[in-house]
Each structure stands twice: as C-alpha cells, then as structure tokens.
Symmetry: C2
Subunit: 194 residues, 2 copies
DNA sequence: CGTCTATTTGAATGTACTCAAAAGCGGTGG
DNA sequence: CCACCGCTTTTGAGTACATTCAAATAGACG
C-alpha cells in the first residue's frame, strides 16, 4: 500500500509523531474498484471514509424520475463518501461510484472514531479538512443561486480544468444542474463566440 | 451575559469539565446589534465566530449587478459568519447583517485557536458542528440542481417553517435563488391549488 | 399621516427543458 | 482488425420555467 499521498494530505494540517503515523497507517484499508463499480450504494450504510490514491469517482443522487444529480467528484488526493450516512451510520441517499478504475484507502468509521479518541490531533485535521470543503460548497451554492448555466459552466471550467478532461460532458451537466443537451448548446455558443 | 444556550449548544457534542467551561466562558464576548446593522461587511476581515443568543441574521453575497444572494440565515442557537474570511483572516466576500435586533456571543479567532490548542476537545466539538452543517449544505446543493423553484420553496417551507415567519419574502426568494416577483407568483399558485 | 420598502400583478422576453432524431465514439466480440 | 452495439454528444423544434420591467397595492416605520 502506498501511504505517501495520504500522509502528505494529513500533514498539510497536522504534524504526526512516528507513533501516531504508525497507528494511522495500521487502520488504513486499501481497496481497488473497477470503472462503474459502486463504492457506496444508496440504501447501504457508508461504512468508510474514502481517500483516493488513484482514479476518479463521483457521488450522486438519483431522483424520483430516475435522473442523476452529481454532488461531488473526487480524484487523487481527495476524500469522498456520503457524509450524512457516514456520521449517523444510516442508509445512504447517495451513490458513490468509480468513474475510472480506482484505488482507495478506506478507513472504517469505528477505527476513525477510535483514532480521534486516541489522538485528538486527528480531530483537528478532520475539522480543518471539512472547513475547507465547507468553503468550497458555499461557493457552489452561491454560484447556483446567482449565475446562469453558462456562467456556472465557465466558472467550473476555470476552476476545474484538470477535472473536465477526465469526465464525460453529461456528468458535468449533471454537476452543474442542467441537461446534457443544454450544456452541449452552451459549449457550441462559447466555441463560436471566440 | 447569558451563557446557558451556548453551553448547551456545545454540550450536544462534548462534555465539559468546570475548568474547560470557565475558560470557554472567559473568551466569550457578548455584543448586540440593531436591525440592519452589519456584523461583517464585505471587504473587512471576519474576526469572530458568532453564536446567536437572540434575534436573526443573514449572510449574503452582492454580485456585480448589485443583487443580493443569501447564503445563510441564523436564529437563536445557530452560528454564523464568513467562514472563508474567518479561517484565512482575509477580506470577506460576504456581508453578515442583523435581520432583527440581535444579541451575539462572539469568539475572537485567536481566542478560538488558543482554545483548540489548550483543550482539543473543542476541535471535536467544532468538527462535529461543521460536519452537521456540511450535510445541510449538501442537501441544499442537491435541491438547487435537481428541483424547480416551486419545489425548492415547498421544501424550504417544510423544513424551515419557523424561519419563514420571521423573514421577508424577498429574503426567502434570494435564498432560493429566484426573483421576489416569481416567488410571489409561486405562492399565489400554491394558494389557489389548495 | 406620509414616506419608503415590500409585495402583487401582468405583459413581454429570455433561459433552460423535453422530445426526437442523427451523428460520433468507444469498447467488445467475432 | 473490423463490424456492430450501446452510450454520449449534437442539433432542432416546440414548450415550460423563470426573469425583466413597469405599475399598482399593501405594509411598516418614523
């Protein structure tokens, strides 16, 4: 198991002693998923916090009409899951699925809780991690309530150019909250106007 | 200063010793704001984490055309601020403003950081607090990208009936990401259909 | 009471969706 | 290696959702 990336991820916020690092490593569970395979399926309980070491995933909600709405993408060095399900250990509303063949490091809820109790430093890490992603989510909400679809797409493309290349367009449309047909028209319009 | 509410808020997640409680109380700064007064003004640095003991506030973004877009409301027992500005201590993009005459307990960034260092338990508290609000935000994002304005309004009204009564309609429209005129038409339509 | 802001109403416009069909593209098996 | 199948993307016409602008009405506050 390659722990370098995840340890670097953690050490952006906290500095670990050898003991803390060893304990942390001991609760890591590497796992691989094939493209289109579920990491979490709606209805199941999300048992793990998932750190991506390789590949790409998405979390999404399927509405009553069967339409998918993507909440999040994750690539290398990102965390993903269904937080609501994970913290309450109740059935997930979201699916988490591999967009490419993917390698994860998983941490079981009980192991993470024990880690927090044993080394409160990890509470700090996790707090700062979530704080950052709160800020990202807030920007997304503001984008959703204040911009047109075209503006949202341009903003997305600006911020996540590296992601756009790895994703089918209909996923991006779903993330932006528009239909794939309309995104196609937006792209055509942008292409001709420049 | 009435510290009962905030101590109860904290003790939903952690249990405090007398020492911890006293220290925590010692860094609290009560402050009152009049209706329409800014707690944070865009461009300023958000210096405090704000806990509401009485009243109602909103945080919002003003776009290039001068339109306001409301990110969050907060009433008694809620926390509010500009998290991006607070954690990085850089100028705020958001305004935080009293919707009613309001009483807050404020905690200075430096004091909060010291609290986290001295009593890591508060890292835990803050982590769990933010985790909960992440889940709320995720639901909001899904609502924004998957529902029509009417459905979003009904969902809002369902979940925040107590809030709706204290807020002008144009604030709710702004929160939902629609124009006040359109919200008025939605309400009319709902009223006739039932 | 008067002023200012919030809400309602309506007509015209623009934004985004639906449905259907065609074209493009990638993966898989023969 | 090519042909085929399924899925994604494009395109267009028609429709529904939501905004803009303007004016009238209603409410709140000093």
């Amino acid at each position: 198991m390659d722990t370098e990336l995840i340890l670097k991820n953690v050490s952006r916020f906290i500095t670990l002693t050898d003991e803390e690092r060893d304990y942390f490593v001991s609760i890591m569970r590497p796992r691989t998923y094939r493209k289109r395979q579920y990491v979490v399926q709606a209805g199941d309980v999300c048992k793990y916090e998932n750190f991506v070491t390789k590949g790409c995933l998405r979390s999404y909600f399927v509405d009553d009409n069967g339409f998918e709405h993507i909440l999040q993408f994750a690539i290398e060095d990102w965390w993903i899951g269904d937080m609501a399900s994970f913290i309450t250990q109740t059935p997930a509303m979201l699916n988490v699925e591999a967009v490419e063949d993917t390698e994860l490091i998983q941490i079981l809820k009980a192991d993470l809780d024990a880690l927090f109790d044993k080394y409160p430093k990890f509470d700090r890490f996790y707090r700062e991690l979530i704080q950052k992603s709160m800020v990202t989510q807030q920007r997304r909400i503001l984008s959703n309530i204040s911009l047109t679809a075209e503006q949202r797409y341009l903003a997305f493309r600006n911020q996540y150019a590296f992601l756009e290349q790895r994703l089918p367009q209909n996923y991006i449309a779903s993330y932006l909250g528009i239909t794939p047909e309309f995104l196609s028209k937006i792209r055509k319009k942008i292409a001709t106007n420049s």
